[in-house]
């Protein structure tokens, strides 16, 4: 008998039992849904971290004012009242830390920007020439801002992101033109290359002004964050320690700032993912077991209710292996069906979460996780169906036929 004919018989039989099969599959569906969701979150978290540090480079640290609680809260949530990280702190770090290659202060805020009638709100970064190097973000045309120390609060020059430049100057180049940012006039001396979305926001939708002007615009006492590029990637922990030591000294012994390394962000995320993993793995495990029992139940009921069928097939000369294969195929298919349904449900969940969360967490459902889920469920089905199938295959044809007696 050909495998095709065999699987057609199996599908026939499943269709006959669709209600019972459906119930049995519920557990498997829940299990698979949680597994695939889990993998999606795990992969998403990893992508998130990669995105956070992409374009910056792995040997880059971020210094934030305030203490970041590394116990569960997402990075960026600060507690306590910090001393500001001043431009003098930045200069001191640049002077005395041998591990530091470049250091770029950033004052960040949102402001109104306009060219005559055309205006919009966008994120404005007050920073220095070092930003260009650390972030590997260069102008398409013109020259970026001057280096730290070579500009004053009075400097009225800016660089525009690709999107901002296009929106404010749709029909001509922005280079050399004047724009108004927060009430003051700035001359555009660079338009940045196109980069698209990074770190959760559109870096083409930014405007850059000198760091002192930024502090004045946002009325800031210190930097919003400081990007540090280290000399060597292996220096990450050493560099972070040196920075911490120096800044702590300058802040009167209080560690009221946070040094984020790629590794530390990974740690935090991994802790979060681990908690989620535990919960979901529990659900997944329990429901896969329940699902397996469900399939086993259907298989037992099927082989018992269909004893007559087994008897008939045996009388007609079906090889015992065929009987075994058919029942195994049925329970395997049942499992795979549950796996596929669960994967589809998880994909739906991921799609909905994406709509709700936007880009906050880049969830992904890798194809291999779906394939894995279906394979695992098929295996569970085969295992659960194995015993009843083996029993059916060994059934004595005479006894099996007698069970069906009476009418039919």
């Amino acid at each position: 008998m050909s495998p095709l004919a065999l699987s057609r018989l199996a599908v026939f039989a499943l269709w006959d039992e669709k209600r019972r099969v459906g119930l049995a599959v519920v557990g498997v569906v829940i299990g698979v849904t949680s597994i695939v969701l889990l993998i999606s979150i795990g992969v998403g978290a990893r992508t998130y971290v990669r995105q956070q540090f992409s374009g910056i480079g792995a040997n880059v640290l971020v210094i934030l004012p305030g203490r970041v609680e590394t116990t569960g809260a997402m990075p960026g949530v600060t507690t306590g009242t910090p001393h500001p990280i001043t431009i003098d702190d930045v200069r001191a770090l640049r002077r005395s830390c041998r591990e530091i290659k470049e250091i770029a202060p950033i004052v960040l805020g949102s402001s109104h920007i306009s060219n005559g009638e055309r205006s919009r709100d966008c994120l404005v970064l007050g920073t220095t020439a070092e930003f260009e190097e650390v972030r590997r973000f260069h102008p398409a045309v013109g020259h970026f801002l001057p280096p730290d120390g070579q500009m004053s609060r009075g400097d009225r020059i800016c660089a525009l992101g690709h999107t901002v430049a296009r929106e404010l100057f749709p029909s001509e180049t922005a280079l050399g033109k004047k724009v108004k940012i927060g009430g003051s006039s700035y001359r555009v001396q660079a338009i940045m290359e196109r980069k698209g979305r990074q770190q959760g926001f559109d870096v083409d939708d930014l405007a850059f002004i000198p760091e002192p002007a930024g502090r004045r615009l946002f009325n800031a006492r210190g930097e919003t964050r400081v990007l540090v590029e280290l000399v060597a990637i292996e220096e990450e922990e050493k560099g972070a320690a040196a920075i911490r030591k120096l800044l702590k000294e300058r802040h009167k012994g209080v560690e009221d700032f946070t040094v984020l390394t790629a590794g530390s962000v990974m740690d935090i995320l991994q802790r979060i993912v681990a908690v989620l993993t535990g919960a979901l793995a529990g659900i997944a495990g329990v429901s896969l077991v329940v699902g397996g029992i469900g399939i086993a139940n259907v298989a037992i009921v099927a082989t018992t209710a269909r004893t007559e069928e087994v008897g008939i097939k045996k009388a007609l000369g079906a090889h015992p292996a065929w009987i075994l294969a058919q029942f195994l195929l049925e329970s395997g298919l049942t499992g795979a069906l549950g796996g596929a349904a669960g994967a589809a449900l998880a994909a739906l969940g991921v799609a909905l979460a994406k709509l709700a969360l936007g880009d906050a967490l880049p969830l992904e459902t890798p194809l291999w996780s779906v394939a894995l889920a279906i394979a695992v469920c098929a295996a569970i089905g085969l295992l659960a169906g194995g015993l009843p199938a083996a029993r059916a295959a060994r059934l004595d044809p005479v006894a099996a036929l007698r069970s069906g007696g009476g009418k039919k």
């Binding site: 004919a5 008939i312 009388a315 007609l316 000369g317």
Partner: protein, 229 residues
């Protein structure tokens, strides 16, 4: 073709075993039309099942087409049932979810016959039993007599050497029963197929060429039906 020698069947049932057959000797030649008769519980079905390789004897020798089958394994017996034997049961034993045609195709499927040949042979077999217009009906959409004719078509479609039937007319009225018997006689006459029918209906027995009567697991009479009575 069928040689049973000293066949015994014992069902171990707790303390006292049931001796369903107590040393049966029976020879059936190719092309015979045989009725097996006897009171209820005399061992008719047991004898038919052993002859049909559905069951194995506790003791004795059974040679089918010269091959000793008493000690064969389940796989070999399955092959023999598929290639050499055909069965018809009192309660039809059709698969409820398959159409008449699919039911008839089933033994061909197990024999490894290709799809298109399966189709055409099943259709031909159904036409032969007068159900050419019922091929797509499910068993539940057929009368008892029609169901039994589907079962006959299924038994004949593999071109067996022997067809074994256990009370094939037991659930049918006399007219449908007669139609089924006529199909057997026709297969016997036209193709020389050996037919063995278990029955306790005198008129059925009398329409066969030979009657083997059993009582308490022993053959008590063997000969032309009229003489046995």
């Amino acid at each position: 073709m069928i040689e049973l020698r000293g066949i015994e069947k014992v069902y171990p049932l707790g303390a006292h075993a049931v001796h369903a057959l107590r040393g049966v000797d029976l020879t059936i030649r190719p092309g015979e039309l045989v009725a097996i008769t006897g009171p209820s519980g005399s061992g008719k079905s047991t004898l038919l099942q052993i002859t049909g390789c559905l069951d194995t004897p506790t003791r004795g020798s059974y040679r089918l087409l010269g091959e000793e089958v008493a000690g064969l394994g389940a796989r070999r017996l399955a092959l023999i049932r598929n290639r050499i034997l055909g069965f018809v049961f009192q309660s039809y034993h059709l698969l409820a979810r398959l159409s008449a045609a699919r039911n008839v195709e089933l033994p061909l499927l197990y024999a490894g016959v290709g799809r298109s040949e399966r189709r055409s042979r099943a259709r031909a077999a159904l036409e032969e039993v007068g159900l050419g217009d019922r091929v797509d009906h499910r068993p539940s959409e057929l009368s008892g007599g029609e169901r039994q004719r589907v079962a006959v078509a299924r038994a004949l479609v593999t071109r067996p050497k022997v067809v074994l039937a256990d009370e094939p007319t037991g659930n049918l009225d006399s007219r449908s029963g007669e139609a089924v018997l006529e199909l057997f006689r026709q297969a016997n006459r036209a193709r020389g197929i050996t037919i063995i029918v278990v029955t306790h209906d005198r008129s059925v027995a009398c329409s066969m060429d030979r009657e083997v009567a059993i009582r308490d697991g022993n053959i008590v009479k063997d000969g032309a039906p009229a003489l046995v009575a």
